[in-house]
Structures are given as C-alpha cells and as structure tokens.
C-alpha cells in the first residue's frame, strides 16, 4: 500500500469518508474489523468502491474472508483500477 501513490491516496480518502474513520488509522496491517467495519459494512463499502471507480470487485477475490486488512482492500482496488486504466488506455 503505497500511500504516496495518488491513486492509492484517492482510494484511502474515499474509504475514510465512507466508513467515517480518520485516515491516520487506515494503516496497511490493520484488520478492517478493528476499525469497527463489520462484514456487512465491508460489503457496502465494496459496492460503493465499485460505483465510485467503475470497477467490478469479484466475489471470490482476496476480500472474501473475515480477516481483510486495510492494505488488502486498498491494494486490491488499486490493482483493479490500474488494470482497468491499462485496458482503456
């Protein structure tokens, strides 16, 4: 999770705003559950990330589990975003 990457920073900003958690708490190793983001909140956040960035986050990807960290979430979205930009470029 490269926080100096503008794409990553944008994703972190968006998640921070959606879940109401200060950006400084969104460190890569932190499990999202520890931030008070339940599995249901995560599903909704994934849905909002899909809508915001125009990507599709698969059901059977790395976010399908109960121990998702902030880093896993942000990196997965960043990868999908990069892949999509690669396609449209």
């Amino acid at each position: 999770m490269q926080t100096d990457d503008p794409a990553v920073a944008e994703i972190v900003d968006f998640i921070s705003g959606e879940v109401g958690v200060d950006k400084s708490l969104l460190t890569p190793e932190t499990p999202v559950a520890e931030l008070g983001i339940s599995s249901l909140d995560l599903i909704e956040t994934i849905f909002k990330l899909e809508s915001r960035f125009g990507i599709e986050i698969p059901n059977d990807g790395p976010l399908n589990g109960n121990d998702v960290t902030v880093g896993t979430l942000v990196d997965h979205v960043a990868e999908l975003l990069a892949a999509q930009k690669g396609k449209t470029a």
């Binding site: 339940s38 599995s39 249901l40 599903i43 994934i46 849905f47 698969p58 059901n59 059977d60 399908n64």
Partner: protein, 404 residues
C-alpha cells in the same frame, strides 16, 4: 391444562422431489438436489447453481383462470397444504369452522414482482399485469390455502425471514396446545428464484459458487433453494380418538431475538432459543438425540451455530448428531423451517439421521458429528429443528417420536 399436539399430516415440495415420499427417499439416499439453474437466465451471474423444484407443472394443480392470480410461491403452499391434509385423512370432519386455523410464512410473490417490473422498466410497458398486487402480497399463500382447503378459522402469515415457517408452526402449535384450535395447517413456501432476487443475493456476497457444504472447513456460502413444507397439527386426544396416523408429537417451541445485527447471528441468543424449546418441552439437553441445524454453510452461521450448540449441550454434543439438510435441498428461506420440520418428523418416524452432504474437511470451529455424506440408521426419541434468521429472529421446534 395444556393439550398434547400430534402431527397427523405432512406435505413437501423441494429439490429432493415433489411429495413427502420423494423427500424421504432423497434424505435417505443422500441425494443432492443442487444443480445448474434452469428457470432463470444466469449467464450474467457468477453463481450458476441453485436448488430448484423440478417437474412442477402448475396446470396439473390449478385451473387456467386461477393461475393469473397465484404466484409460484403460493402455488407451492397450496400444493403442500393439500398433500398434508390428504395425508391427515378426514381431519376436518365434525370440527367447528372457527376451530381450524392456517398459519403460513409471509413470502413476497417475487415472480410477480420480477415479471411485472421487467415489463414496466425494461420493456416500457404501459402497465403491469393487473393481478401483480394479489400475486405479490406476502399473505397470498395463506389466503390461497384457506380458499383451497375451506378453512374459516384464524389464519394469518408470519414474517421472520428464514425463521418464518418455524415461527408459523410454533405459533400454530401454541394455538392447538392451548385449546384454541382443534386442527391447524401450517408451514411455508418460498421461491426467490428470479433474476432480480438471484442478482440481489449475489450482491450480498453470501452465495457459494460450487455447492453447499455446511460445517465443512471449505464451506463457501449458501445455495438458494425453493420449495414448501406443511404440517397438520391436531389435538392429540382427538387424533387418537379418530384413529389417525400420528407421524410425531410436537412438544416444544423456543424463540429469541438477537437484537444485535441485521445479518450477523449471535451465539448466546441462538443458544437461548434452543434452551427455551427444551424448557418448553420439559426436556433435559441430554434427552435430545438429533438436531436438524440451520446450517446455511456460510462461514459465520455455521461457526456461530456450533458455538451455540456447545453452550446448550456441553459434553453431550460429542454424542449428538447435528446435520444440515440445506446441503441437499438448498436454503429455501421462508420455507426452510417447514421443510426442516418435515425432515425431522421423518427422521423420528423412520429412525434415521439425515446427512450433511458435501462435507469435505473437519473445521475446529464446527466440532460436530454432522452425519457427513450419508444418512445413518438410528433410533431417535427426541429432536430439535433450528431456524436462525437474518435479523436475529430465532425459532426452534422440539419434537418427539410417537410411540403410541
């Protein structure tokens, strides 16, 4: 003085077959009714499987003029109610009209909603089917049952998501036990196998792409099923006096609300509902010989349910078989409590343990004898059937083998 309550009629319709004898045969044989979805175009979906009712021909059960008014869900309800009543024999003869009731799950007629909204939104139709409202209304199934069977006493629907049918049967049980009713027909039907609902379930990220494996470490989520179950509950003295065939005795009903979360289950509350059912039945935990589990095969449900069973049964759990028939006929949602009740009655009557199919790998979080991958012969005297719904609404039925 409480009356005893006999179960004198059974009806079922599921991916295992379209009547009770097919259901029994499927349970015993370990048939898995889950397969590629045929009734809905799933080409745009990741999840291609479901547990459909196959070979159900509405025209064989209903007049053409009825069909425009009755959703697939209500069709199922009427058919299983007819089966249960036929099975019970002349149960309504000589009973005052107000002493026969019908209580069924409240299930939206999703096929009516899906068809009509598609025409409106996607096809630009000026108006939907004129009977969309009566077909979609959640009380439709119980209304059709009363019309079809000629029931004129207390009748209503109960909505508690996946516990709806168990709450319905439990409430009907209370009404017969208290002496308010002589006979009740109860159960539930559900068909959410529509394009809109399958897409909605997929969006919730709880569907398994490749089968239903309750309590297995590699379980990957639930498989949507459709179907219906019904029972005829009857005052025991009356059933004995008329020489009825008694399939089993309903002896207890326990309920609780988690009051916590709209989807995630709560262990203590699930345990409380099982304890209340045992208390209501006057049974010690050690008296229970079989548990028909809610067992949806989501990671969280099964782990929570196993923990709740541990809280209630303690060391007895090591000797207590617990299986999930959802591995065979999918998660039939509002119908599941009724189908699981029928399953449990058959297990008691026939002396066998229905299996948990699809089991591959033991999970330390679900340390249970889940009767993996094949039914077993076993003389069982008492059993419970658990329903733990989304939104934390729990309903547990306690049943006893009828020994004359």
């Amino acid at each position: 003085m409480k009356s005893r309550v006999a179960i004198t009629g059974l009806g079922s319709l599921s991916a295992l077959g379209n009547d009770v004898s097919a259901h029994l045969e499927g349970l015993r044989a370990g048939t898995v009714g889950i397969g590629e979805t045929r009734g809905v175009d799933v080409s745009s979906m990741k999840t291609k499987i479901s547990a459909e009712v196959r070979g159900f021909v509405p025209e064989e059960h209903f007049e053409p003029r009825q069909l425009g008014l009755i959703d697939r869900t209500s069709q199922f309800a009427v058919v299983v109610a007819r089966q249960a009543l036929a099975d019970a024999g002349p149960v309504l003869e000589g009973v005052a009209r107000h002493r026969v009731g019908a209580i069924f799950a409240a299930s939206v007629g999703f096929h009516a909603v899906d068809d009509s909204y598609r025409k409106l939104y996607a096809e630009g139709a000026a108006r939907p089917h004129p009977f969309t409202v009566p077909r979609a209304m959640p009380s439709g199934q119980v209304s059709h049952v009363t019309m079809d069977l000629g029931i004129h006493g207390p009748a209503f629907s109960i909505a508690s998501a996946c516990s709806s049918a168990a709450h319905s049967i439990g409430t009907a049980f209370h009404m017969v036990r208290s002496g308010m009713l002589d006979v009740a027909v109860s159960g539930g039907a559900e068909s959410q196998l529509t394009y809109g609902m399958l897409k909605s379930w997929e969006a919730l990220r709880v569907l398994s792409p490749d089968g239903c494996r309750p309590f297995s470490k590699d379980r990957a989520g639930l498989v949507i099923g459709e179907g219906a179950g019904a029972v005829v509950l009857e005052n025991m003295d009356r059933a004995l006096a008329r020489g009825a065939t008694i399939h089993a005795e309903l002896v207890g009903f326990g309920m609780s609300a988690d009051g916590m979360d709209i989807t995630a289950p709560d262990m203590a509350s699930a345990a409380a509902s099982m304890r209340f059912a045992l208390e209501d039945a006057g049974l010690a935990p050690e008296a229970i010989d079989y548990v028909s589990a809610h067992g949806t095969a989501t990671v969280l449900n099964d782990k929570t349910e196993a923990g709740a069973l541990r809280l209630v049964f303690g060391d007895h759990l090591a000797r207590l078989p617990v299986s999930s028939s959802k591995s065979q006929y999918g998660h039939t949602m509002n119908a599941s409590g009724a189908l699981d009740c029928v399953t449990t009655v058959l297990a008691l009557r026939e002396g066998f343990l229905p299996p948990t199919m699809g089991f591959r790998e033991a999970d330390p979080d679900c340390d249970l004898d889940c009767v993996p991958n094949g039914a077993r012969v076993a003389a069982i005297e008492h059993a419970i059937s658990s329903s733990f719904a989304f939104g934390g609404l729990n309903a547990v039925l306690a049943l006893k083998r009828f020994g004359g």
